[in-house]
Symmetry: C4
Subunit: 213 residues, 4 copies
């Protein structure tokens, strides 16, 4: 696509993708700053002091995977985009705000793994990402000339149903944080797994590739 | 554009764009490091301790949006650039210096939300960004062969008037910090909103795209 | 490769490369946060206080080089990739998780350079990177249409043997951490050197280039 | 340049450029973490407490500009590169190590602006960057097929002389740190200015562009 065509088609997607890649890379790497030993005790009991950090390790691992899930979802969504406009830039910045909040709620959850407030705030940020993600998909697949025209409408519907899981389930998980924290935590763990395993985009691309051979 | 043409045309824009995307992504994500609970009290009063952080949450949110506004302004400006030269690189590095200072003034404002000094320093950094942004637009739209020759002169004028708002209003907001802090804060909030809502570039690109169809 | 072809061929590699470059750049730069003077004493004994940080300087240097080695291995591996799929994205995110953990284990080793627990945890993260790196190479060179079809099968075998060194040697180094810490540390130092010096990809590319002339 | 040609020509430059942009962006932004108020006193004396940070502001500003200078030098150097090889990757990683150390020596200098040890360590890192930068330029302009063949040999010589200033002057500045700290600091300030103002690459590109018209 040469410069003139690109201009007529509006802003290209690559700068917003670069900002996304930067923000997710930083948020994922900043999580490691939570893995710190308390400044006390001698080197003798190092193993047990590290072992005592286990809620932080668990939160690090879950948060890293969650950010990976949303980065990949962003990658796949933008794959079908032909251009961006102002509304999409601002929806994306709101999405990035959610991603940038993950290290904060991960820090809370790592310090207070049993506390319903920490659990529900973690869920609230996951819910923000899920809702904004859903709105972005709804916005770009509308009749606005943003998306690749050859995109299969059936895929659009299947992805809509797939990513609706987040906005539907997260309020339940947040509510459960106050009555059954363990159940709430299990949902936070299960949701990324559902995203990873039942991804309709990957099989769609695979079929396209087989057909093209 | 092949390599030889690019060389004759001078340094391409993509490395400076990559540095910009990196610096804005990092500054936006580092803001989250300000959202830290003071190390005191048990897990019982977690909700109220988090609620007490509200000035930091507000500053995080405003600063994230401000950085988003300036990143988007940079993105749209560079869209029309054909090449960069030394002066533009150094103006941009000064612009990035302003962006990199946002986490510092946000930290001050989050800790001392009522203090006129914190408020006016925050405004000073916003003012620096606004002034350098204005100088960059004035510099690249001058007769230096940096910008796309087909760019509509009317758009250049409209953008100049639009981004002149910052350098004009910020000194007022800084002065108000000492007599009417709330008014000053409202201006900091209003300025990004003005940038977001009355953006002449987006409608220009939209018109171009409609015409090209 | 135009957009339609790219789509038929599956997701392109550039976003995953951008995430990799971001995560390695951040992990490498965050290492510097470990180089901090303890808050005590006057400026008089600054030289000796800095000198007392030598285990942290050594760990900084080793960790920076180790991350450089794995970044370069990732760069060379992805050079031969034509596209990515879901499995490869998740293997890569696991690889990035290992890279993001380096600042944590480097911090431990810098604080407790003599402690077998710190040494073995450092080795465990190096081992994770080595094993995931090996699995990635095995996965992409399998019959999955991910890799450039012209790639020399002999190079594939030589690289497999070369990168098998890590998964084989690291368990030995981890075990040695408990009986001969110095030997263990020497292996951590030697492994990157082996990777740097006996790199079959570089000589392969050099031969290709000579032939093409 | 299509994929096959690129492969025959060796590894392309863009991944190393992306790592460079990431590391410089992060090092430049991490500098802001040094701008922290000591945790003491009420909000009343905020202005004087901020003013007391002036050595840190000065160091922030100098370090930001120094990193900008070296980033731009890297950008201009890589502009003429056709491909990278293993040696160049490792020279670059050593260069990045110097850049990543800037926030550490800036922190030292900001805390102990009068101390010859802090001053000389700052100079040592500047010297490392200057020397590795010189070696990189010497290496890529040698007869190794790395650089654009049309590059003017006269420019190569002029750049060599220009960037030799660093390795020659820095040992003097480091020695002066112990006898005349102010003079030493002035050299640290002057060197970036020399780099910025007497840059032969920019005028060379400008001439090329004028000729091509």
């Amino acid at each position: 696509m040469d410069r003139t065509t690109a201009k007529n088609a509006g802003l290209s997607t690559h700068r917003l993708e670069a900002l996304a890649d930067g923000i997710f890379a930083i948020a994922m790497t900043l999580l490691v700053l939570e893995l710190r030993l308390p400044d006390a005790g001698g080197p003798g009991d190092l193993a047990s002091r590290i072992a005592a950090l286990w809620p932080r390790f668990a939160t690090f691992f879950i948060s890293f995977i969650v950010l990976g899930v949303y980065w990949f979802a962003h990658h796949q969504t933008f794959y079908f985009l032909a251009r961006v406009n102002r509304t999409l830039v601002w929806l994306s910045i709101l999405f990035f705000l959610g991603a940038a909040l993950i290290p904060f709620v991960a820090s809370l959850l790592g310090s207070y793994p049993q506390d319903p407030v920490a659990l529900s705030l973690y869920g609230a940020v996951l819910g923000l990402l899920a809702i904004v993600g859903y709105v972005i998909w709804w916005y770009i697949t509308g009749d606005r000339g943003l998306i690749d025209e050859e995109l299969d409408p059936e895929l659009v519907r299947r992805v809509s149903r797939w990513i609706a899981a987040g906005p539907v389930i997260m309020p339940v998980a947040i509510a459960l944080a106050f009555v059954a924290p363990v159940l709430s935590l299990l949902i936070y763990l299960a949701l990324p797994a559902v995203f990873v395993l039942f991804n309709p985009v990957d099989s769609y691309l695979e079929r396209l590739r087989q057909t093209a051979r």
